[in-house]
C-alpha cells in the first residue's frame, strides 16, 4: 500500500473542507483525497494498488450526525454512516421496506455488514478482475484510453445492460438496485453546499468509465431519503449467485408492487448483477402497469427489461437468468401477505 496522510474529521463541514483541497479534474472516485468510513472497499483496493489516494479523511467521527435511521409517514431516512447490519436488522425496515432490509442482509458477510457504511456501500467499485488487478494493462476505468480487457476476455460475471464499447464492468452491489427501485433521493454535501438528487442520477453510464458517479471531488453522501409508497411493504429482493451465501449476485431483482384486486397499480423494479450501474427498469414497470399479475405479465415484463441486453462471449446466460430472476421476484412479491 502506498503511503497516505491520515486525518480525522469531527463534523461534516470539516470533512468536506479537508477533502476539498484536491485537484479539480480528477473524477471523485480517483481524487487524491478520499473519505473513509468502513474501509471495506477502499483499503482492499489500496492494498491492490488499484486506488492510490494521497490522503484519507476518516468520517467515522460524524456518527452522531449521519448515523441514524428515521422512519415517518413520509418515508425512510437512512444516514450515510448507518452500517449495513444496522439497517438490515431494523424491525421497522424489515416490515415496511423489506426490499431494503433483504438487499442488505443478503450482501457480503456478517463482519463486512458490521463495518460497511450505507454511503460507502453504494460507491463500492466493480468486481471486474481486469479493473482490480493492476497487472492487466488495459482498463479504461483505471487508465482512461488503455482499452478494455474484459470485452474479449473472461466476462462471465460482466454486465449485459447499460454497457458500452469502453467498459462492460458490472455494478456488484445489492442495496443500490433497491434504492433505485424505490425512487430514493441521495443527499450530498460538498464544498459548494448541499444538494439532493434522485439516486438514479448518482451513477454514470459507461461513456467515461473512469468517471463512475456524478459526485464532484470533496462531495460527501450524507444520506438517503426513501419515499413511502403503497408498494413498499409488498417488496422483496431475490438474489441468484454461484454459492448460497457470501457471494456477489449474478442476477438479482428488487421488486415492489402495489396491487389492487390482483392488478398492478404500480410496480417498481430494480436489477442487480446484470447492469453497468444500479439499474431501474422503467420498461418492465410500464409493461406491468394495469395488468393482472400472473406468469404471462411477469414474463412480458422480464422480456421488456432485457430487450436491450448486449451480452458478450461468457455472459449471455445472464439474459435468461436475469429474466427468470425477475419473474420469480414478481410472483413471490404477488404472493406476499401484507
Amino acid at each position: 500500500m502506498r503511503p497516505f496522510i491520515y486525518t480525522r474529521a469531527d463534523d461534516v463541514s470539516a470533512a468536506v473542507q479537508a477533502a476539498a483541497e484536491t485537484s479539480g479534474s480528477a473524477p471523485a472516485n480517483a481524487a487524491p483525497v478520499q473519505f473513509i468510513a468502513g474501509g471495506t472497499t477502499i483499503l482492499d483496493l489500496m492494498k491492490l494498488d488499484t486506488m492510490r489516494p494521497e490522503r484519507l479523511v476518516d468520517i467515522n467521527g460524524l456518527q452522531s450526525a449521519l448515523g441514524s435511521i428515521q422512519a415517518t409517514d413520509k418515508g425512510l431516512r437512512l444516514g450515510a454512516l448507518v452500517r449495513m447490519s444496522q439497517a438490515a436488522e431494523d424491525p421497522q425496515i424489515q416490515r415496511d421496506y423489506p426490499v431494503i432490509a433483504q438487499s442488505l442482509q443478503l450482501a457480503a458477510s456478517a463482519q463486512l455488514r458490521n463495518m460497511a457504511s450505507l454511503g460507502g456501500n453504494v460507491l463500492q467499485r466493480t468486481r471486474c478482475q481486469y479493473f482490480r488487478n493492476t497487472s492487466w494493462p488495459a482498463c479504461n476505468k483505471r487508465d482512461p484510453g488503455s482499452g478494455c480487457a474484459a470485452l474479449d476476455g473472461v466476462n462471465r460475471k460482466h454486465a449485459v445492460l447499460g454497457v458500452g464499447d469502453k467498459c462492460i464492468a458490472e455494478y456488484p452491489g445489492d442495496f443500490a438496485p433497491a434504492l433505485a427501485a424505490l425512487g430514493a433521493v441521495v443527499t450530498i454535501t460538498g464544498p459548494n453546499g448541499s444538494r439532493a438528487i434522485p439516486f438514479e442520477q448518482l451513477h454514470r453510464g459507461p461513456d467515461q468509465p473512469e468517471r463512475e458517479t456524478t459526485l464532484a471531488p470533496g462531495e460527501l453522501i450524507t444520506g438517503f431519503d426513501i419515499p413511502a409508497g403503497p408498494y413498499t411493504r409488498r417488496s422483496l429482493y431475490v438474489k441468484v449467485r454461484d454459492r448460497q451465501s457470501y457471494e456477489f449476485g449474478l442476477a438479482t431483482a428488487a421488486v415492489a408492487l402495489h396491487l389492487v384486486d390482483g392488478k398492478v397499480e404500480e410496480a417498481r423494479i430494480g436489477l442487480g448483477g446484470v447492469a453497468y450501474r444500479p439499474w431501474r427498469s422503467h420498461e418492465a414497470e410500464a409493461a406491468l402497469q394495469g395488468k393482472p399479475l400472473d406468469e404471462n405479465s411477469a414474463e412480458a415484463a422480464a422480456q421488456a427489461a432485457f430487450a436491450e441486453a448486449a451480452p458478450r462471449r461468457d455472459n449471455a446466460y445472464k439474459v435468461e437468468l436475469g429474466r427468470r430472476t425477475l419473474v420469480r421476484a414478481l410472483l413471490e412479491a404477488g404472493r406476499m401477505e401484507i
Binding site: T40, L48, D58, S85, A110, Q111, N114
Partner: protein, 201 residues
C-alpha cells in the same frame, strides 16, 4: 504480498525495522496533517498515534498510518491469535471484536479504531477457564489445521450473541464469512449449537 512499488525501494522486512525504530524514538506523535504547519508538506511516513484497548489493556503505539489493526495486533502488540489469511476481507481468519461487534481486522486501519478490541487471547476467563465456544470447538473436533479457528471462534461468539444461531441453517448463513479450507464446517455448526446452549443457559 510484496511491495515492489514502495517508493523508497525498501523490502518489507526493512520497512518494519524502520517503522519499529521510528516508533522507538517517537513514542507518541499527534495526528499529523491537521496540526501540520500550512507551509510544511505533511510527511506520509511520519508515525501516527494508535491508542488501543485490547483485551482490557491499553496499548499506545506510534505506527505507520498504513498499519492495519491485524498487523498492529500481531506485529506490535505480540498478539498473534488473529490470523492473516487473504488480507483482503474475504476469508474471516482475522476476525476480532471491536466494540463488541465482529470485525475484519485486516480491513481496519489501527489508527481508526476507537472502541475496545477483543481478540481470541481475551476470550478465556482470567483463571484460564476456556470460553464455552473454545471448549465446544475442542469437544466437537471443529478444526483440522486450526489456522481459521481463532476467526471462526470470534465470529461464532458474535453469531450467538447477535441471536443468529437459532438453527443449523441460520448458523451456516451467519458464519459464511469465515472460510475453512479443511472444510470442518459440519463440526463447527455442531460446536456452535453446543456453546449456544451454555452461553444462554
Amino acid at each position: 504480498m510484496t511491495h515492489s512499488n514502495d517508493p523508497r525501494g525498501a523490502s518489507r522486512r526493512d520497512f518494519f525495522k524502520i517503522s519499529a525504530s521510528a516508533a522507538a524514538v517517537a513514542p507518541v506523535v499527534a495526528s499529523t496533517a491537521l496540526h501540520a504547519q500550512p507551509e510544511q508538506k505533511p510527511d506520509p511516513f511520519a508515525p501516527v498515534e494508535v491508542d488501543l484497548v485490547v483485551n482490557g489493556q491499553r496499548r499506545r503505539m506510534a505506527l505507520d498510518a498504513r498499519t492495519t489493526l491485524l498487523d498492529a495486533l500481531r506485529r506490535h502488540a505480540g498478539l498473534t491469535g488473529a490470523k492473516k489469511g487473504c488480507d483482503h476481507g474475504q476469508c474471516g481468519a482475522c476476525t476480532v471484536h471491536v466494540g463488541g461487534k465482529r470485525t475484519l481486522s485486516c480491513l481496519t486501519l489501527a489508527v481508526m479504531v476507537r472502541e475496545p478490541v477483543t481478540t481470541i487471547e481475551g476470550l478465556a476467563a482470567t483463571d484460564g477457564a476456556l470460553h464455552p465456544m473454545q471448549q465446544a470447538f475442542i469437544d466437537h473436533d471443529a478444526f483440522q489445521c486450526g489456522y481459521c479457528t481463532p476467526g471462526q471462534i470470534m465470529s461464532a461468539v458474535a453469531c450467538v450473541k447477535e441471536g443468529h444461531a437459532g438453527s443449523a441453517d441460520e448458523i451456516r448463513e451467519y458464519m459464511s464469512g469465515n472460510l475453512c479450507r479443511c472444510a470442518a464446517y459440519p463440526h463447527i455448526v455442531t460446536a456452535i449449537q453446543q456453546a449456544k446452549t451454555q452461553m444462554e443457559g
